[in-house]
Subunit: 383 residues, 4 copies
């Protein structure tokens, strides 16, 4: 009988961690997939408690991710994939270890801090024939997928301008005093040792970059940025001019100090024949306008929505889907691809409709280019 069950392990993501919980819940949407191994936290107590909560075999709760990668790879009932939800600075090393041990990888974004690291991971994955997903969550939303579809079909013509933004309020209290932040969260975000060269652009600017790239298929040629640090070591706000490879222009804005915005990722794409607008806080809707006509408010789950957006829609129109479903869509596709791989079936383009390692690398390039431009008079920096 064909295997339908998929097993996975997790690195990072103890019981108290936010994003680890999101991943587990999203994976749970696929009833066929089970958590069977983990290395959740350097603290032995928290690690064990997490394993017990999920009723894992004690010998599959590992102290060390390297040990986990190696031991799991030798089991007959080994994990099919690992989900990496550690702090950002560990992504590269953990991903590398699992790839080297022949295990498919899902990794939180950012993929890594340096482009060379990303290229190295890509080479190993290719060499080993492994699947690699980077959880740029917003590409998982149905109506983001429908935007992509409409553009692919030429519905809005050639793209001539992009306007996208991601403002948040939550770090407003980091402004201005010049002292190093002391809250735990701020330490992770504002200290270059853990956050890399960027805080805001790396954390949410890259979501703009990826969401626009996914929807439009455009590649960024170069950026010119004004980056604001407000006396902190890392950036809190950035305004970015963009030029894409087709010559058209864009403008991105990311901020963690913009009062009145919770998680305001909004993407607007303008073409010669029409335009599309998507707002993450109301993800089931997509504003679509054709030249000379009235704007239409498309909504998920209706008969006029087709393709991937329709396949992945879970509940009827008007019943809101949200953030978990976006993650679940990425995992559903990724796990489907693993099953095909297990059964030696050919993977189609559609089977690979999840963020790839190349998307992760593009994100790292984007962050480096923006920060470099911001450090040098907003000059144009080529990606």
């Amino acid at each position: 009988m064909k295997r339908e069950v998929v097993r996975y392990g997790m690195v990072g993501g103890d019981l108290g961690a936010f994003i680890g919980g999101v991943h587990r819940n999203a994976i749970n949407y696929q009833a066929s997939t089970s958590l069977v191994a983990g290395c959740f936290n350097p603290s032995e107590a928290e690690n064990r408690a997490t394993g017990e909560f999920y009723r894992l075999d004690a010998d599959r709760v590992y102290k060390d991710y390297k040990e986990m990668a190696q031991k799991e790879s030798q089991r007959e009932d080994k994990i099919d994939f690992v989900s990496i939800v550690t702090p950002n600075f560990m992504h590269y090393e953990v991903a590398k270890e699992f790839l080297l041990n022949g295990i498919h990888v899902v990794c939180e974004k950012p993929l890594c801090f340096e482009v060379a690291q990303g290229e190295e991971l890509k080479a190993i994955a290719k060499d080993k024939g492994l699947l690699f997903a980077v959880t740029y969550s917003y590409s998982g939303y149905c109506m983001v997928k429908f935007a992509r579809q409409l553009i692919k079909e030429g519905k809005i013509g050639s793209i001539i301008n992009v306007n996208a933004e991601y403002p948040q309020e939550w770090l407003i209290d980091e402004l201005g005093n010049g002292e190093k932040s002391t809250t735990k969260l701020s330490v992770w975000r504002m200290d270059p040792l853990y956050a890399g060269i960027s805080n805001c652009v790396g954390d949410i600017g890259t979501h703009i970059e990826n969401t626009v790239a996914y929807i439009t298929g455009l590649k960024i040629k170069k950026v010119a940025a004004k980056v604001d640090r407000f006396n902190q070591e890392l950036d809190l706000n950035a305004n970015i001019l963009v030029e894409y490879d087709n010559g058209c222009s864009g403008s991105y804005w990311c901020s963690q100090v913009s009062v009145g915005n919770m998680n305001g990722l909004t993407v607007r794409i303008y073409g010669t024949l029409g335009a599309l607008e998507w707002d993450q806080e109301h993800p089931d809707y997509l504003r679509f306008t054709l030249k000379g006509q009235a704007p239409q408010i498309l909504s998920r789950g209706n008969g006029y929505v087709y393709g991937r957006a329709a396949q992945l829609s879970r509940i009827p129109s008007g019943h809101p889907e949200g953030y978990y479903e976006a993650f679940a869509n990425i995992y559903k596709t990724f796990i489907g691809a693993i099953l095909k791989t297990i059964h030696n079936e050919q993977l189609t383009q559609e089977d690979l409709d999840f963020p790839q390692i190349d998307d992760g690398i593009e994100g790292v390039k984007f962050v480096h280019a923006v920060i470099e431009s911001g450090n040098d008079q907003s000059k144009w920096v080529t990606l």
Copy 2:
């Protein structure tokens, strides 16, 4: 060691069923709870396939719900609760069987077709000391809970008027030809044998009734309704005047033939000091206005939201929660209450913050009163 694991069974909800899947997914949000038994479909093949998909022991996939109730009740590792997601006309009999066998019950709405049936179920549950939840899903949303809290605290003063509606478009093609519907779904909805005395009021009108009751704490005294059937046997649209026990007025409108509305449950509550408005299609937001002041758009997950709404919030503000989380919140509370019951702990009011059997009975009364009024010149009918 204290038991943290909860086991449940399901009646109805084979792999192809919509609402059963929603329930299972919502229950999955609690990692501690496992599906271990079921009677998913009268068809043996579908029943077995569903059991296999969820890796159930074959002897816990039952042909008959009575057999399931009896056998499960005698096992040491018996199910702690059953989730009933059968067609509506079976709710009463299935719930009764499990109650009689000492098993806690979660039942989809409507609880049953007749008030007497509801009273009977209530008496058995009380007698046996069993928990009983009716899944009026909208009471599970965080911002619905916050609306309730603000009203309880007197923030909008005494309620003087209510305006609530639930329009949908999806049965627009049932209009007018006078022939009996033939699609499978329509048969369930439009045939009194399966749907009871009402289609639209029973299906979605009751959601208005319950959501308003939950938010306001008001009880309906009487209704006067104009009910439209458009040459079908059952109702498709209803406009309803309401008088509450405090003497104040309300107006409800439910419809399944209103073009441009997907799932438009909207509740507006007006008081002597302020007003609240909640719209199901954007459930993370709550419009709150104090007399003489500007409307405020409250959103889930922010520091100014407290109480149950804050406790049940899962992801940060601006990251949309949706329909699954509303169900999951009901189950989370219900399962928490079961665990306390297992451990012989006292249940507080808060522990019972899920729709009770009394809410289910109130819903049945409401449907009967509206239909009776509609059949007799929109006269006032007391609940």
Copy 3:
């Protein structure tokens, strides 16, 4: 040479009055029309001051509206029409006087308090061949006219349900103390001597009635209403069931005690093929949905808007028009009809696209029926 200049007089509307100023400003949108006579206020001082401000000849500022009607009617350069903006209880007598003296009339709503009065005015106007407009302002908005056009063309099919409302907050402080109001405004509104049998229904409920009638062409057959007075002599809130002559249902709600609503007239019309929604606070937009398709947000001034809505549009799309333009559109049409009458040209249906005396009478019937129903157990009352 063809006369292009139109002269008018005003009764009521001294310098301090609100609605008189709105009328004058709206008339001013037609550069060809001049204020030349008036009887603005019983106080001689205020009357004279208003006349002086508008540079009127002293002998055309009248102490008494009867004198004004008679003297003006005998001048060669007499006023072509009178604009009546007195307190409501005087509308009937003033309008009658001017009609009897052969002068066209524009009268604020309500036309009068009793149906018989309205019929009498209608008979005189017909007998004398005079034009009579009642300023139901909302029918003057371009997108209201476009809604009417789309429905006339059958775009939304046969109408099956109507939902309309007009909530305001501004009388919230009249609630509940049971004492007679003492503010000047409240006296006019809450005292039957001046306000007639109704406050809220008469003031804004009639706007719902007229706007729906204008858009849909439906006539109300009967109403059943719950009317709330909150210990005042006159109504402050009403929920109303409606049945139209085509048998379809409607629900109206008007309120002056609903916190968070400034001037919330919203009309939603549902048909067998589509639906329309218009919201007075954003009057340049019209939500239009066809069965099975995405809602479209039509906006004034675009190429896809045609007919009267296009003819009356003054400024490009996206530049907001508002309340003054709605009034100005009524006057523009009315003055155009007067000019045609002066030149003995035939009036078309389109020339008469302003609220007629019949609309005024329908409004009086509506108010009486609603109040009667509210006084008698919400029974159905035929108009």
Copy 4:
């Protein structure tokens, strides 16, 4: 007796012209102000027809604006001010002529094409003690004034970032063919002879610049822009980075080729304590958020709105004001200042709350800087 009547003349603005009609209508909101002279069109026939329509004395309908300036300046009943609504390239010369003849000036934007011209006009006006208004219309909206007030009072703290945009769709058909436009309108807009060095930035980009400057009080230090011409001679789209004199950042976007946007001027201002957002298509509203609190939707005409925004509000809250009222507010203030000047009264800051010649000069500087930056690799250009 104190003179209350103000006389004005107009240059440009024949009966068929759009913006001239807007100005006249806006001036009409002040009943005290009369059009008495004009030079409306080079065509004698159109000039005369316009004069006749407004019942002007034939000898005050001038063939030539110079003749008009000179003759009017010598009359006892001369015009108090002139309103200049000619094509843009004539603004400078016409304004100069009237200033030199001692007549107050209202001039459409752009003030002129060269900074030196603006400085010259300013010097003459100062020398002659004349008032000069440039009709940046958006500064006339009540809620724009309230935004300015809240910022002045420190309600949102120190400004840290600005995001403003002005997208339109209407020139979408100018895209890309590389041929010169041939429609009349396009000729004015797309030919440097008539439009100066910029089309889109000059036409609407300057409105962003002025509206932000008015609201915030910030002055732009420098800009870096990517300007798109799409094979036309002049610009149709521009993305602009901004640095203000206080060191904070901004991002502007203007476009006339963005499908789905009619007149989308939107301004968002972020401070250390709060944020404000205003959208021209819904001008009666202002979104105001304090750090850590829920967004409030302020609306014109309510008790919580005070200062200039309250003084200039004409109709009750919820009754929409629009584009005409914004212009009328500028004229009301300007005419009030003229009357004070006539009566030799001292002008306060508030009396001068209309766009000044300095604002016009700032606009010219902005256009030059943006175009220069766009022509040279988006380098920073100081204003």
